[in-house]
Symmetry: C2
Subunit: 127 residues, 2 copies
């Protein structure tokens, strides 16, 4: 594996108010950064305001972490890309607690490995 | 589809010197932004220096664009996430010209749609 590992996380049936709340989203991101022992070297965030969502990204010594939220459909999408392997986080638990997600779908991609790369997905059940 | 579309691009057998060159990587990113009519609302970049690679990310009105380069293995990994559908870019041509990539692997993921989401991949051949 030459390019690290990326987790692609889609959370469904979240609380729309949480998806519009920049502070709630920031707290979730900081929790992920702390729990996964990541190191931030740059960041940007934007709260679209009104009925819009929140978008944030962190450039990491280990690669990157991003989130986009879609209050109108109750969806949050997260990418966590680590250039070195590390254990998966308990995404369903994290996203249920922070955003009220009822279902979380996690895919794990190898990056920059063989030209055709294994893709695996899992769905964590409803609360 | 509630969460947009993401292209996961892995480029192989690139020129190591190009993968260490912050300016070359920035020019590639700006080309992608222009060609795909994207709108930047935040950005961060880091050149690791010496034998290290370059990492850059752009927060977009349309979601995000990231790149990480690995000169030691000739690999560059790019994510382009757009919350609204748009045509795929000619990645093999772009990455061959800018980074000397001999092979480019592109996967297209739907985000935030059905809980189990279609994944498709393609490999563009050698020069």
């Amino acid at each position: 594996m030459n390019g690290g590992i990326e987790w692609i996380i889609d959370a469904f049936d979240c609380r729309p108010a949480a998806l519009r709340d920049g502070q709630a989203v920031t707290e979730l991101m900081l929790r992920v950064i702390r729990d996964a022992d990541l190191h931030v070297i740059g960041q940007a965030e934007h709260v679209f305001g009104g009925a819009g969502g929140v978008t944030a990204m962190y450039l990491l010594a280990e690669s990157h972490l991003t989130i986009h939220t879609f209050p109108e459909s109750g969806v949050a999408t997260i990418n966590l890309y680590c250039c070195r392997p590390r254990p998966a986080l308990p995404w369903q638990e994290l996203l249920s607690r922070s955003l009220g997600a009822r279902t979380t779908h996690v895919r794990e991609l190898q990056r920059g490995g063989a030209a055709l790369v294994e893709v695996s997905g899992s769905v964590a059940g409803s609360r």
